[in-house]
């Protein structure tokens, strides 16, 4: 029996009075890659941002229901604590432009005021950059600014930044939509490596990507979780009409 890392119970998210995520119940098993797909505006990104309480940073946004990280309700925890446990990577690479590559990786420690010995810092940086397959490319330019890297490298740097905090879960919000095909495939390969240590939830609007990277796929439509299954089953034998319509390209 696989252990569950994240489990939501009747999770709703709103913008003002507009309910954009509706009664989502989902269990996410440890060390799996879960893809969340669906047409634009289906609430998939909002759902993802709900998991680490980023949703509520937007004015007038609110949420209810329960999200369990192991046995603790994320909704009752302090957001700062939640975000230390659940890392996030965004659509566009967003390294801190005022920090070097090195400092970007340990930004989570720096920004939270956690003091580290020089040797520990070096170790964290090397490990995190190795995990995202960036170490060999940047080991000689660690003191350069993070924005000096290419888009794909920047995105991997952002993943390293999240990984360095040793979170339990990593959330990815369309992590490759701003990248070229080669960088995209590098990042996708990373997912297979990362899932050995972390649980990954990836929002994507790209069915092929979901098929390539995920162990299980959640299909969202109009804020509802329509189907949650192995993607091969979804392609061959969708249980719901809406899934079938989406997969066959009747709407996108």
């Amino acid at each position: 029996m696989e252990s569950t890392v994240i489990k939501t119970v009747d999770y709703n998210a709103y913008f003002g009075d507009n309910r954009v995520v509706k009664d989502v119940n989902i269990s996410i098993p440890k060390n799996h890659v879960i893809a969340v797909m669906g047409p634009s505006g289906c609430g998939k990104t909002t759902f993802l941002r709900g998991i680490n309480r980023m949703h509520e940073l937007i004015p007038h946004a609110k949420a209810d229901g329960k999200i369990f990280l192991h046995n603790e309700d994320v909704m009752q925890m302090h957001p700062i604590f939640v975000r230390l446990k659940i890392g996030m990577v965004f659509q566009r690479p967003n390294p801190f432009p005022n920090l070097s590559i090195y400092d970007n990786v340990i930004a989570g420690y720096k920004l939270n005021g956690i003091k580290l010995q020089r040797a520990d810092k070096d170790k964290i940086v090397e490990e995190a950059l190795t995990k995202v397959a960036l170490w060999n490319e940047v080991k000689d330019s660690l003191r350069k600014k993070g924005t000096f890297l290419s888009g794909g490298q920047q995105q991997r740097l952002c993943i390293a930044r999240a990984v360095a905090m040793l979170p339990e879960v990593l959330l990815f919000d369309e992590p490759t939509s701003a990248l070229d095909p080669i960088s995209t495939s590098t990042v996708e390969e990373l997912f297979h490596e990362l899932k050995k240590n972390y649980t990954l939830i990836i929002v994507t609007h790209n069915m092929q990507q979901a098929a390539r990277v995920s162990d299980r796929t959640a299909f969202f439509y109009m804020g509802e979780l329509v189907e949650y299954d192995d993607i091969k089953k979804m392609f061959t034998n969708p249980k719901d009409n809406r899934t079938q319509n989406y997969i066959t390209g009747r709407f996108s």
Binding site: M54, I80, M88, F96, N98, A107
Partner: protein, 281 residues
Amino acid sequence: MNALLKYRIAKSKTLHVLTSVLAFACVLPLMAILSFIIKAGITKINWHFLVNIPKPVGEAGGGIANALLGTLIIIAVAAAIAIPVGILCGVYLSENKNSRLANWSRLCVDILQGVPSIVIGIVAYFWLVKPLGGFSAFSGSVALAMMMLPIVIRSTEETLKLLPDSLKEAAFALGTPFHRVILKVIIPCGISGILSGVMLSVARVAGETAPLLFTAFGNPYLSANITKPMQSLPLLIFNYATSPYNDWHDLAWGASFILLVFVLLLNISTKLMTKKWKVQL
């Protein structure tokens, strides 16, 4: 058809020439002021002029050390008041774009910018000079700080508004508390714009005379006590230029030159600094 075309080309050429001429015309006032002050002032400047206080009427020589020191102290104290308040207020305005408090305070800041400096001087007189029982450099600093605030606030706000939200999200997603997001990410990323606002505000108030007339008041002797009256360059220029003595006129010219150089240097170093510290997004 051809005539029409020629007419249109002529029209656009005229406008082109007109804009160039007017752009050049804008340079003329500054050039005129510069050449005038340099011609009249530079001959008065020497070491003696910078390190001595004015001599009594009738004695040759004398300098402006008291005014120079006074200006530096008054501005430093004003900056110490205006910079933290202004930056934090600017942060609030950029973080809470549409809250009621933000709209009101933005309006007030805009109006404060338009308040005549003499009025600010009078207000400082009633708020500080009268209750404290006498003219003081500190009250002058407060008056100048009020004039610096709008510039610092608006430049901070405008700079921070240009930073992408993704930057803040990146910091929040790492579990960073709000105060550290502001202090460690937002302000460092906008530092070049914030600094340029600060420098420009200093340059702006360095030559202000009116707010100091009823506050710092002026002092013919060297003083570094901010609770007592203090001389400053604009006050010295105002008092000595309107006096009937030639020696004092010379001091006023020299002081004008120093003040002008100070403001020019501030502006130029602002330009260099913003270029150097600009964070590439």
